[in-house]
């Protein structure tokens, strides 16, 4: 079975550093890289009738934006570095979606960048810290 590494991306500096590191590890272990971008979304939020009617189009727009801005650059870099890579875009809660993807794809390890320590993150915990506590496989935080 092929080794799989998961890399959540959001276009930030941290996520770029994580990509560089993950590509190294993937090359060294001849593993496949899965780049994922999660669009925060909840099935239990409330919409006005207007928003409901535009949702389908908005969703397509969100996916296109994520592809163009976050995933395409990653794909290009991986290709240049000769690392095999697949792209995923999902809607939902980031922690849930990443954990689900880990079990679905039998991921061996997760790489992700550390965000700056803002007051919000210290109070409520960042995605990385939540993931460290809940993920079933090792999570490497790239500073």
């Amino acid at each position: 079975m092929e080794k799989k590494f998961l890399l959540p991306v959001d276009g930030s500096e941290g996520s770029k550093r994580a990509l560089a590191f993950a590509m190294d590890r993937a090359k060294a272990n001849s593993a496949q890289l899965i780049a994922i971008h999660v669009i925060e979304w909840s099935p239990y939020s409330f919409y006005t009738p207007d928003e409901l009617s535009e949702r389908e189009t908005k969703r397509e727009g969100e996916i296109k934006k994520a592809t163009d801005q976050f995933l395409s650059p990653v794909a290009t870099e991986c290709e240049q570095a000769g690392v095999e890579c697949i792209m995923l875009i999902k809607h939902g809660n980031s922690v849930d979606v990443i954990n689900k993807t880990v079990s679905e794809y039998n991921v061996l390890q997760v790489f992700m960048g550390r965000r700056g320590a803002s007051a919000h993150h210290i109070l409520f915990g960042s995605l990385a810290s939540k993931l460290v506590q809940t993920c079933a496989v090792p999570v490497t935080i790239v500073p």
Binding site: P43, Y47, P49, L52, R59
Partner: protein, 502 residues
């Protein structure tokens, strides 16, 4: 620029209103009352039966609801559990995440129907129809679940994607497309147009004037009559806020309301239950009154039949089953199985009428048993408010805020429903949309200036306009829904449609 022009005309209206000062309320009332009466008489024809006056519209809706209940094999009972599973997301395909969820469609539709009718309309029913009206209201809610199932399934099945990527649906679309499919394109076009006119006009009554009127009444009540004769001012303020949202495009106000309303509804129910518990000693008698009143109709004009008519009438206007409005909201959902939206929508009359209206009726009922004269001569929202006040002195203030919110969210929803009818007739161009929205705002202001009686007459009459083509169409298209339902149930039984969540 256009926006500015509209704003200037609105301001001119304010100035003109100021000139008349307090007298304007009376003037407007004097002008509209006879109009409403004539209009009501023509559209809202009543058949006298055994001394009771049976409005044709109520008969029309109830016969429809009974028919659809039997025709779908009591889908309102059979489908209830499945509806809850769908809303919980048990059957939601993770790959569809990001699309409108069943829960979201339900929440939006419920925000549109949970309005003043649930607070004030129930009081009207109990005042005019006695406690027994509650029984018939619940029955009408139960039957209405089947009508909703049929209309919302069709709404999704025949949804239409606009060039700008947004989605439109609802009766005008299923009437047009559905009738084309069954080989009657001309009748369908005609009925669809009829419905579109009906909903564009009807939105001004049930979803607009009635709401703003009752919100004003409650506000006036809690301020101790300080706003007497100032209905025009409250009306203008309300109209201005609605204007900002639907013409000015300030969606954030609508978004905030949309988020608060569901919590408000829960909050309202919790406090209502507390009041009922505090009135606990009178609860058995209040419940007994509901049942005995339903069949004896003591002291009610038209007896038991009179109570039944009132109960049915208020239930229909509260949960909007058969009116086709929810079908417009549900059409936004993208699903391979339109029937799933039908299932979800049958929860709306349940939440709206069987839960919330019944709770309100019990708050009033128990208070009445404790003190038959607790509300004085207050009716509508003011009566409900007095019933709460007996136990929780500060609750009328909360109720005033809740009433405002409910009224506001219902008005926003209805402006959308009405607009969909309007743009079906006049196209999706921005100028035509703006015209409708401005007219809508004017009616918001008008609603606060006139008396409840004529407003109810106008609302009821307009609703009739809407449900004639809709229910007629539903009869013709019911076989389509039945086929969909059968196919879906077969897939469900065979396990082809499976739960994603365990």
């Amino acid at each position: 620029m256009v926006l500015k022009r509209w704003f200037v005309s609105l301001m001119l209206l304010v100035v003109a209103a100021n000139a008349y000062a307090a007298g304007i309320d009376e003037t407007i009332n004097n002008i509209t009352a006879p109009l409403a009466e004539v209009f009501g008489k023509i559209v809202f024809f009543k058949i006298p039966i055994f001394g009771a006056q049976l409005p044709v519209v109520v008969l029309w809706l109830i016969i429809g609801a009974v028919f659809f209940t039997f025709y779908t094999g009591f889908v309102n009972v059979r489908g209830f559990k499945h509806a809850i599973a769908l809303v919980r997301g048990d059957y939601a395909d993770p790959n569809d995440a990001g699309e409108v969820s069943h829960f979201q469609a339900l929440a939006t539709a419920v925000s549109g129907t949970v309005g003043i009718g649930n607070i004030g309309g129930v009081a009207v029913a109990v005042t005019v129809g006695g406690p027994g009206a509650t029984f018939w209201m619940i029955l009408a809610g139960f039957l209405g679940m089947s009508t909703k199932f049929v209309e919302c399934t069709l709404g999704v099945k025949y949804r239409t994607k606009n060039p700008d990527g947004s989605v439109s649906g609802g009766p005008m679309f299923y009437l047009k497309k559905g009738f084309t499919e069954i080989g009657m394109p001309n009748l369908g076009k005609w009925l669809g147009g009829f419905f579109a006119i009906g909903i564009a006009l009807g939105a001004m009554g049930i979803g607009n004037m009635f709401q703003s009127n009752q919100a004003y009444v409650q506000l006036n009540y809690v301020t101790g009559g300080m706003l007497d004769g100032l209905g025009w001012l409250v009306g203008l303020v309300l109209a201005l806020v609605v204007f900002l949202v639907i013409v000015g495009g300030i969606q954030s106000i609508a978004k905030v309301t949309e988020k608060i309303v569901p919590f408000m509804a829960v909050f309202y129910c919790v406090f209502a239950i507390i009041v009922i518990a505090m009135n606990g000693a009178y609860l058995p008698e209040a419940i007994a009154n509901i049942f005995s009143g339903a069949f004896t109709g003591e002291g009610i004009a038209g007896g038991a039949l009179g109570a039944m008519i009132i109960g049915f009438q208020r239930a229909v206007f509260s949960n909007e089953a058969g009116i086709g409005s929810a079908s417009i909201a549900h059409a936004a959902v993208k699903t391979k199985q339109p029937v799933t939206e039908g299932f979800v929508s049958l929860l709306e009359p349940f939440i709206d009428t069987i839960v919330i209206c019944t709770i309100t009726a019990l708050v009033i009922g128990t208070s009445q048993v404790a003190n038959p004269d607790f509300a004085g001569d207050a009716t509508g929202v003011a009566m409900t408010s007095a019933a709460f006040e007996r136990q929780i002195s500060w609750f009328p203030y909360v109720l005033a805020v809740a009433a405002m919110m409910f009224a506001f969210s219902t008005m926003i929803s209805w402006s959308y429903y009405g607009l969909k009818g309007w743009s079906y007739l006049f196209g999706e161009s921005n100028s035509s949309k703006k015209t409708y929205n401005v007219i809508f705002c004017v009616f918001v202001a008008l609603g606060c200036m006139v008396q409840l009686g004529p407003i109810l007459d106008i609302s009821d009459a307009m609703v009739f306009l809407i449900c004639v083509p809709n229910i007629l169409g539903l009869y013709f298209l019911a076989p389509v829904v039945k086929k969909e339902l059968k196919a879906y149930m077969a897939l469900l039984d065979s396990g082809e449609i499976k739960k994603y969540k365990q």
